[in-house]
Symmetry: C2
């Protein structure tokens, strides 16, 4: 079962911690020889690497919900791979797997941390997208915390991305009104024409706040918070009595290293929380996996098969291009779920 | 059933809206002749007037969860009264009632808005205190939103007041650890010696934040927010993963007319919400009345009878002294539930 020749992994490590906006200098491309898999381990080649905003948090040493990547360590990330050598009874060569293997071409991983994928059931890339972490973030946060009711208004930003597009579509499927915020007319048209949002607002428009107000004449019942920043500032005054705000990400402020200048909006925010009986709830999708993951896979894969659920992927080729693609992601340059095609599927 | 002579009400009306801290000039003492009660109405003399922080909100025209008191109108407030003339079949002269009759000596009120009180069951004043709105605010917010589990740490400020003292004692009865914040050594001693809090921290101490940190070595699971301001600033960094923050009041900032100077703490606050999966939930007790009020009355009156629940009242005599007492309440000068004794009970 062991391979004859030494396997090399081409990988991206964290070279230094960013001060503000990350640059390509914060990353370094390396090649390392991988050890043979030990008992219970599996050697995989990586096909797709998912790039996600949360990775900015892992580059920083600030306290977060997960440990930072150490300097010199490979960047973390969700991947789809294929087994090329297995010392775990559950896997054999050729199996496709979901692994949290990071920014690299090959990896030796514990078999117990892998999930086998059925390539006939859904495109492999969806396991790190609409049928993976981003999709489940949308599903669990919206249904468990947002709890949209029929006729209510749900607002989500980064709405052409993998989380936002799922939030809006699930809101629609539950009978709510979906209003998406995205950057630029092309993305806004996609929300309306392809995803069936009821309204789309361009956050780059000079009169963004007015446009948003006009798009939610009855106010906002659920604001799915994944961006923060200026978008959140425009949304907060529009929240209705008993509005719910699931908070899964704050991409607009991930690069801030110090608190912005005043005035201090925190007391006023708490006044709104009190006056409107608001619910603000941070979450990481892992909290809801045991409770909701099976329902999620059944529902969303069902909706996709029935043609009631769309998703869009944005591929870049080659692990060496991951840093540039990731930096672009933080600026909203991607259009759909950002993936690195590390190798061909077949 | 109608009275022979005209009944006068001595009352406090809102003379002007405060700019910042209210002064006695914002109030005016008046005497008005009351009309005879119409069909379905009841004439009452008021015995106790409850003074509560939320009244500061009613003095302002800023948007809130309830309409403001108009200039020249009588100040609103919960009262305990006695029926002296009734044209409602459910009440007769001599009955004691709970009414939302405001800062005045007499009132003509709709019978359907009254609740009859049994003076033998509990002291009459408790109907606007531990067995009334403040007690129910504590009970509903703590149990429905805070949901303290055995061994968890619950922190509450204004802890010698009617809401805070109930929060801490209910937390203890549910097996949690109660940490109270109050102003000055006398109030802190009361928390420890009379109410059985596990720790008490004086927010006037120069090293308040350090003392608070030392009092919650494992962090904070539930912060019952009723003050805001500097106390909240010290609490927020100590909130643990999945901590819950019911928000029922913000007395420390009610007098602020503009946002304070920077830095802007709102982005950093949202980062904490995300990193710690926090729940922040504003509420007004009325939301939970139909669901929980009976349980509340049964539980708290039972605990009082069993000697497991203490409360403290702070009386001032005479409706004319309500403005000064209320201004003192906003400064924390009261010690226990603040009540105006408008007339004798018997």
């Amino acid at each position: 079962m062991s391979v004859e020749s030494i396997v090399q992994s081409t990988r991206i490590v964290l070279a230094s911690r960013p001060d503000g906006v990350p640059t390509t200098d914060n990353f370094r491309l390396e090649a390392v020889n991988l050890p043979d898999p030990a008992d219970g381990q599996v050697l995989i080649r990586i096909i797709y690497l998912s790039l996600d905003p949360y990775m900015r948090g892992r580059m920083s040493s600030a306290e977060s919900y997960a440990d930072p990547v150490e300097i010199g360590e490979v960047m973390v990330g969700g991947t789809v791979g294929q087994v090329i050598d297995s010392r775990h009874p559950g896997f054999e060569s050729g199996d496709y797997v979901l692994a949290y293997a990071g920014w690299q071409s090959h990896a030796v991983v514990d078999g117990k941390l892998l999930r086998k994928l059925a390539p006939a059931a859904a495109p492999l890339s969806t396991a790190v997208g609409v049928l993976g972490m981003p999709g489940f973030t949308a599903y669990s946060g919206l249904l468990k915390i947002g709890q949209p009711r029929e006729g209510e208004t749900v607002v989500v930003a980064a709405a052409s991305g993998p989380v936002g597009s799922a939030v809006g579509q699930i809101a629609k499927l539950k009978g709510a009104r979906a209003v998406g915020i995205a950057g630029g007319p092309e993305k806004c048209a996609y929300l309306l024409d392809e995803l069936g949002f009821d309204a789309a607002v361009d956050h780059k428009a000079p009169d963004f706040a007015e446009q948003l107000g006009a798009a939610v004449p009855d106010g906002i019942d659920v604001y799915f918070e994944n961006v923060g920043g200026a978008v959140a500032a425009a949304v907060l005054p529009l929240l209705k009595l008993y509005a719910r705000v699931p908070v899964c990400g704050l991409i607009a402020q991930y690069n801030d290293s110090t608190a912005p200048e005043g005035p201090d909006r925190l007391p006023g925010f708490f006044s709104r929380v009190l006056v409107k009986s608001l619910t603000i709830r941070g979450f990481i999708q892992g909290e809801f996996v045991s409770e909701m993951y099976e329902d999620f896979l059944r529902d969303v894969s069902g909706w996709i098969k029935e043609g009631r659920f769309e998703y869009r992927e944005d591929f870049v080729d080659g692990i060496e291009n991951a840093p540039t693609a990731f930096i672009g992601l933080l600026q909203g340059k991607n259009f759909g779920k950002m993936l690195v095609r590390v190798a061909e599927e077949g």
